[in-house]
């Protein structure tokens, strides 16, 4: 075992995935008990593909759409909220259940606490306005701009929607172009069109 000491010693301490899973679960429980679970997340299936849901102790902080890339979303959470990010599904149970109901056309709006970033007032106003667009309906970017008191800031409404940290729950997919076009969507235009159709079909 001359030059192979490293491999031999490593081989003497096999570690199984099951052992690590148990330890990880124990760590998550301890982190929760000690208030160290700054960001809990889980991935749920949906008709749009897998969604990443993340929450702080205050509330839902992110809904990651498939097109956004979950690794990128987690890295962004670590950089902008806290690097204490752990997969811990329990905190996301309520929103996961409500999303299931929404996709099954059994729910029209969401009732979960949100933890939205402190950002420019304009963006906050746009996000607040989104929640008021009813299920099955749409508003145009210029309507939203007028309603938040900046009728000329049509493009800025688009940017605010694109930066919506909790799509679906705050329905930025209901904001469309005045010429009948769908407009952009962080989750892709196909997903946006699909959501509008889902809601129209269920309305």
């Amino acid at each position: 075992m001359d030059h192979n000491v490293g491999a031999d010693v490593l081989g003497a301490f096999p570690v199984t995935g099951g052992e690590l899973d148990r330890l990880r679960e124990r760590l998550v429980r301890a982190a929760q008990d000690e208030g160290l679970l700054d960001v809990a997340y889980r991935v749920v299936d949906s008709p749009l593909g897998p969604l990443l849901l993340a929450a702080t102790a205050r509330g839902l902080v992110r809904v990651g759409l498939p097109a956004q890339g979950h690794d990128a979303v987690l890295a962004d959470l670590a950089a902008t909220v806290s690097p204490r990010v752990l997969a811990a599904p329990a905190r996301l149970d309520p929103v996961a259940r409500q999303l299931d109901e929404y996709f099954a056309r059994g729910r029209r709006d969401f009732d979960v606490p949100l933890d939205l970033p402190v950002g420019p007032r304009f963006r906050a106003a746009v996000l607040a306005r989104l929640a008021a667009i009813p299920f099955g309906g749409t508003a145009t970017y210029s309507q939203v701009a007028a309603e938040v008191g900046s009728p000329l800031a049509v493009r800025a409404v688009g940017s605010a929607c694109a930066a919506n940290p909790v799509p679906l729950v705050l329905p930025c997919h209901r904001v469309v172009r005045a010429d009948g076009g769908c407009g952009g969507y962080a989750g892709g235009v196909v997903a946006k069109r699909w959501l509008i159709d889902l809601e129209r079909g269920a309305a």
């Binding site: 490293g6 010693v9 570690v15 690590l20 000690e34 890295a75 670590a78 690097p83 990010v85």
Partner: protein
């Protein structure tokens, strides 16, 4: 550049830390040592520089938690000396080599574990255990020689 999500840090280094803990405190206390290590790490994580060597940092914490555990075990008046090495029902791997490692003098066992299992370069091993880099390298070489004597592979 910023710190990776802690979940990723756990996924990348969980096995290495568990091996180090098993070598340092034995299989019975290794789970506790692992949990204490990652909980301490999680506590301090946001203050860590983004370019820190996470594996070396975790292995260093693991060593500290293992020392704490061994001290607590001594206070409980449980006879120790070398970590207990038993064949747990699902324990696999090379039992003879594990037993030989467990039988090494403390300093050699710790240095071999930190370097060969924890991946710490000798410079950092020396920082963790104290003493010079050369002393750490010598202790590891002595440990490896002892392992070679006690544990001979069929050629």
């Amino acid at each position: 550049m910023s710190l990776p999500p802690f979940e990723l840090t756990v996924a990348r280094h969980a096995a290495t830390v568990l091996r180090v803990c098993r070598a340092l405190v034995g299989p019975d206390d290794a789970d506790d040592a692992w949990s204490e290590t990652f909980l301490s790490a999680l506590r301090a994580y946001p203050t860590l520089p983004a370019d820190a060597n996470l594996e070396a940092w975790l292995v260093t914490i693991a060593h500290r938690r293992c020392v704490d555990l061994l001290r607590a075990r001594t206070r409980r008046a449980v006879p120790v000396g070398t970590p207990p090495e038993r064949a747990a029902p699902e324990a696999a791997g090379d039992l003879d080599l594990r037993a030989a490692l467990a039988a090494l003098p403390d300093k050699q066992r710790v240095v071999v574990a930190l370097h060969y299992l924890g991946g710490l370069p000798y410079r950092e091993v020396a920082e963790v255990v104290g003493g010079s880099v050369d002393a750490a390298r010598r202790a590891a070489a002595d440990g490896v020689s002892a392992l070679r004597r006690r544990y001979r592979r069929e050629a």
